[in-house]
Structure formats: C-alpha cells, structure tokens
C-alpha cells in the first residue's frame, strides 16, 4: 500500500493507542491465550484418546499409593486409603498447574520460536502465560475429579455428599488455585533461564513438594524442620482444607499427635477457619514471591538475550 493510500484510509499514527485499554486488553489477551492453549493441548487427537491420556496419569498415581497400602495391609492401610486417594488426586492438579505455565515458556521459545513475539506484543506477558496455562489446569482438574470418582466408586473411598463442607471446599479450592498458579509462575521464571531439557522440571518440583505438603502421608512422620517447611507451604494447607471439607474430622495431614503443629499451637488439629487463614497468608506470600522471581527472571533474560535462544543438546 502506498503512503497516499495509507493517508486516504486515515492510517496515521495515533498516540492514544500506545496507552492501551487497560482491563479490556488484559481480558482479550487472557481469552486469546486460553483459547490457543486449549487448542494446542487438545486438538492433537480425538477426544476419547485425549481423555484416556489425561486421566491415566492421575489414576495411576493414586493406584501406586493404594497398592503400597495394600502390600503392607492392616488397619492403617485401610484408614489411609481415602487420605492418599484425595492427596493423589489433588496432586495431578498441582502438577498440571505448574507444568502448564513452565511448558508454555519452553514450547514458545524452543518449539514454536514465538516467545520473543509474544514478549514484544502489547499484551502483558504474565497474563498470556496464565492464559496458556489454563488448558493444562483444566486437564488437571478433570484428572483430579476422575481420580476422586474412581476412588469413590472403585476403591471404596467414603465420600458422603451430604457431609461435605461445600463452603470450605469452595474457599480452599479458590485460594489453592491461586497458590498453584503462583508456583507455576515461579517455575516459568526459572525455565526462562534454563535449557530445553527442562521439560521434566515441573514434575520434579511437584514430586519434591509431595514430600513436604502432606499429600500422601501426615506431616507428623517427618523431622520437625521439614514439617516447618511444610507448614509454610500453601499447598499443605490447601490439601488439608480439601480433606477437612470432604472428610470432616478425618485424619489431618498437618496436625496429629507428635506433629509440629500440635507442639506449636497446643492443639492436635487446626480448625477450618485456621486452615483458610493459613492458606490465605502463605498463598499471598508465595504470590508476592512469584511476582518478584518472574520480574527478576524477565529482566535477566533481557540482559542476557535469553528470550530468543534455543538451547538443545
């Protein structure tokens, strides 16, 4: 198009466009990234196969733990079955949530080589990343639900819908989601710095946090310093909150006889309000830390030219 044609169309520089359109722009970026993420996540195969892949992983995780309980046998094993199934189901949510964001960085930089273009677009980088991660979080949520379903229907996990504390469940799920996404942002920040072979890092991080969050055994069996780390992790409170909501008065993963919680607070288990408050505070701290880590990583990446490199070996 000639300059005359541009002028005829009125396509002259409009300085107001540089100011953007605030929340509307953010919303559009998020929706677009979410749609893109979902298409990339789900369009590669037929829905039935996608479903199998998505649930095989969390259900297998739960089964590993259930068989571990079975081989030991005894009353402790039966008592723990609901405990490990819920923890394991929730963990698929954690792994997917963390991986969704971190993999977006690796995918866009190494595979599609689009990271630099996403970065220089007017969209907020973090918002786009969050949008891209939504699809995996959704897959994780689906996996978690199905694992719970398998737990209730096949493995005999006693969940009574009438006895479930739905308000507590909604509150901890919302707060927990924020915390998981925040941890995902931290890992995405780390993956900007690391090399292509970082694909397995989200799983490694989730696997390590498995140890300190009481996902599949009560924190009380851990040494006190490790329990302290667990109590500072929002995921511990999230899992404890979901368990408390599903099995009110059941085995607590953060408290119990001989636990650090009991030593510190003089009570065996936290009440639901304490769980929500603890999740809120630790979640807020992690979110702040995530913002800091990501901004630092972004700055360092620009300083060292890491946004458009490829790092295979």
């Amino acid at each position: 198009m000639t300059s005359e044609a541009f002028r005829a169309r009125g396509d002259t520089f409009d300085a107001t466009r540089t100011r953007g359109n605030g929340p509307a722009d953010l919303g559009r970026s998020f929706r677009t990234a979410t749609r893109l993420g979902w298409q990339m996540e789900a369009n590669w195969t037929d829905p039935a196969l996608f479903f199998i892949y998505s649930v095989a992983k969390p259900v297998s995780s739960a089964l590993i733990l259930v068989v571990m309980l079975e081989v030991i046998g005894g009353a402790a094993g039966r008592e723990f079955r609901g405990f490990v199934v819920v923890g394991s189901a929730l963990w698929s949510f954690v792994t997917s949530g963390i991986a969704g964001l971190a993999w977006s960085i690796l995918d866009d930089r190494e595979r599609y080589r689009m990271l630099k273009y996403v970065y220089v677009s007017p969209s907020d980088f973090v918002v786009v990343l969050l949008g891209r991660g939504v699809a995996r979080v959704a897959v994780g949520a689906m996996g978690a639900l199905i694992t719970l379903g398998v737990g209730v229907t096949v493995l005999g996990v006693p969940v009574d819908p009438a006895g479930v504390d739905w308000i507590l469940l909604a509150a901890v799920m919302a707060l927990g989601l924020v915390a998981i996404v925040a941890i995902g942002v931290v890992l995405a920040g780390i993956c900007i710095q690391t090399r292509q072979e970082s694909w397995s890092y989200p799983e490694a991080v989730a696997g390590a946090m498995f140890l300190v969050t009481g996902a599949v055994f009560p924190l009380a069996v851990l040494p006190a310093p490790v329990q302290a780390i667990g109590l500072l992790t929002p995921l511990s409170w999230w899992i404890a909150g979901v368990r408390e909501a599903l099995f009110p008065g059941g085995v607590s993963s953060v408290g119990g006889d001989g636990s650090l919680f009991a030593d510190l607070f003089g009570r065996a288990v936290p009440d639901p309000l304490e769980i929500v408050l603890a999740l809120l505070v630790t979640g807020a701290l992690v979110t702040l830390a995530a913002a800091g880590v990501f901004r630092w990583s972004e700055r360092r990446a620009r300083d060292r030219g890491l946004l458009d490199r490829t790092t295979g070996s």
Partner: protein
C-alpha cells in the same frame, strides 16, 4: 559400484517430484534434465518456488524423485545413498541447525566426528577452518549467540569439514547483509580456487551471485529448466546485436548521419540523459557486431565529433529470465520454502 570412467558430477534425467498436498498436489519438479561436469561451478537460478531446493534435496539423498533418475558421480540417489553421503556436503542459507549450548568450535567438532575424522584430527581441522572462514574471534562463543552472518560462516566451515567432492549450496547468502554475503561468496571462490577439481551446485535467486560465481547456469521456473549455458551464453540469447551508449561533443547531421554508417543497425538519441544540459549528445548505437565499432569511431573522427564516453550495454540475467518466461523474478510470490514441504 555403479560408476563408469569420467563420470559426470551430476546427471539428472526426467526428474519429476510431486508433493502430496491439499487442496491440490504441488509439482515441484516437472521433468528436469541436467548434466554437470566434474569441477564445474554450476548454478540453478530461479525465483522462489522454482524447484531449486527440491532438486538439491533429491541430489543430497534427502528426498526421492517421484519419477526419473539422478546420479551423483555415477552413484544413484535412490540406491547408493551412503556412498553419496561420503563425498558430498551441503550448506543452506538461513540454517539454524545445531545445539545452542555448544560453542561454534565444539559444534563443528561434533560434525567432524560424524564424518569420521579422528578426535584430535577433528579439533585441528575445525581450528583451521574456523580461521579460514574468518570466525576465529567467535570460536569460543556459543552458537546461540552468533549473528546470522557468523552462523553462516560456521555452516560453511561445517560444509567443508569432510573435504567434499561435491558441495551443494542452497541459497547460501539468504538473509545476509551485503558485507556478509560478499564474505561468503569470497570464501566459496577461495575454496573453489584451492580445489578446482571439486564440483559446486549452487541455487540462488540472486542474479548477480549466479553471474559472479557460476561457470554455467540453469534457469529454472515452475519445476522446469528453461535454459542452460554460461552467463555470457545466456545473455547472448537475448542480445544478438551489440549495443553501445556513446557520448559526443557534437554530431553534425544528428542520429541519421550515424545510422548511415556501415555496420550500424540503428542509432537514436538516448532518453533521460542530460545531454542538453551538458551540451553533449548521448546516443544508443546498435551495431551488427562489436567489430563494426572501429569503423564508427573512425567515421565520427572524420565528421569532427569527439567521443567523450563510450560504454557497452550488457544485458542482465534478469533480461534473460524475462525473455524466457515473459515476466520478471519479483512477479512470482509463491515461496517454495513455505508452500512446498521441502
């Protein structure tokens, strides 16, 4: 071995290549015939989508022809794959291959091992080539931090690691700035001068590059070879007469006086030249042949005119292409790197 004495470096007979695609199959090569002699610097000149890269891929054993046959030094590209790979190498423009985590030197050493060079021999060879291609300063830099020009120098060094008997260069200066492209061309010429018995097949859509480097050129378009010859031969196809542009201080009798001279086909005042302002006359002079120029110069002297400037007008390879295809290079927008999965 299927070789015979004095094998051609490349023999392609009726090579046709069709890519399965939707909504319609793409015919990338449509019956290409080509003979390239050993030691020749041969160019494939054509616009994007002409089929140049497809032909190189077939000759480098990466792609099978849909029909027809092709041989490299007598080795069949379908059957004698390993033998061809032992004697050839290839470098493409815009190549981003390799591992970003390695330095340029390490990357080249890795490839030297793929070509069977000894461990220490590989390092020595790499260091020599790094020096030769002008990458000494960047040798310990990570590949991911090299500029496009530096990366292409590294790719050239990779292409020469195994001292190939035939080197395939697929648009080697694509995307490079003028200086970097010149450096790559100089390097290619230096290598060719050092080993004149080696063969080069170059694809390019840069006319000047083909003109500068190649002994012979095949002009290709839409999968067909339209003409083959040396740059001079090809240009002669569009210019059977000799055209000169001549500037005189004065010319009594005007262009008609010139046109009457022996051997002159036509003479006309050149348009767009500043003859009037400079108070000189600029004429386009068409002669039957170059030899007629002597007579014209003598006659002009006798007529009292002084020749201020004399320049022969050369046709370009673009003129050849326009003559053959009926349109210019830029008029075809289809890009074989995107439209054709080659």
């Amino acid at each position: 071995m299927s070789s015979a004495p004095a094998q051609l470096a490349i023999e392609a007979h009726s090579v046709r290549r069709v890519y399965r695609a939707k909504p319609a199959d793409v015919v990338a090569l449509d019956g290409v015939d080509l003979d390239v002699a050993p030691g020749e610097f041969f160019g494939l000149l054509g616009p994007n989508g002409a089929g140049k890269t497809t032909l190189i891929k077939i000759l480098t054993t990466l792609l099978l022809p849909s029909s027809g046959s092709a041989r490299v030094f007598g080795f069949d590209v379908e059957r004698d794959v390993t033998r061809i790979r032992r004697i050839m190498n290839m470098v493409a423009g815009g190549e981003q291959s390799g591992y970003g985590i390695l330095t340029a030197r390490e990357q080249l050493w890795m490839f030297s091992q793929f070509y069977g060079l000894g461990t220490r021999e590989g390092w020595t060879r790499v260091d020599e080539l790094i020096e030769a291609v002008g990458l000494a300063e960047q040798r310990l830099q990570r590949v991911s931090t090299l500029s496009t020009g530096q990366r292409q120098k590294m790719n050239m060094a990779r292409g020469l690691l195994n001292d190939p008997w035939i080197l395939f260069l697929d648009e080697p200066t694509l995307g490079l700035d003028v200086g970097a492209a010149r450096a790559i061309r100089a390097l290619i010429l230096e290598w060719k001068a050092a080993v004149p018995d080696r063969t080069v097949l170059l694809t390019t859509h840069y006319m000047a590059e083909a003109d500068e480097l190649c002994d012979r050129i095949a002009i290709v378009d839409r999968g067909r070879v339209l003409a083959i010859g040396s740059p001079a031969e090809l240009k002669r196809r569009v210019q059977r007469e000799s055209i000169f542009r001549i500037e005189l201080d004065r010319l009594d009798g005007g262009s008609a006086a010139l046109a009457r001279l022996p051997g002159v086909v036509s003479a006309a005042a050149a348009s767009g030249e500043g003859g009037e302002e400079r108070q000189t006359m600029v004429m386009n002079l068409v002669l039957e042949e170059d030899a007629a120029l002597g007579g014209v110069v003598g006659a002009l002297g006798a007529m009292g005119s002084t020749i201020l400037a004399l320049r022969k007008s050369e046709p370009t390879l673009e003129d050849v292409f326009v003559e053959l295809v009926g349109r210019g290079f830029e008029e075809r927008e289809q890009d074989d790197r995107t439209a054709v999965p080659a």
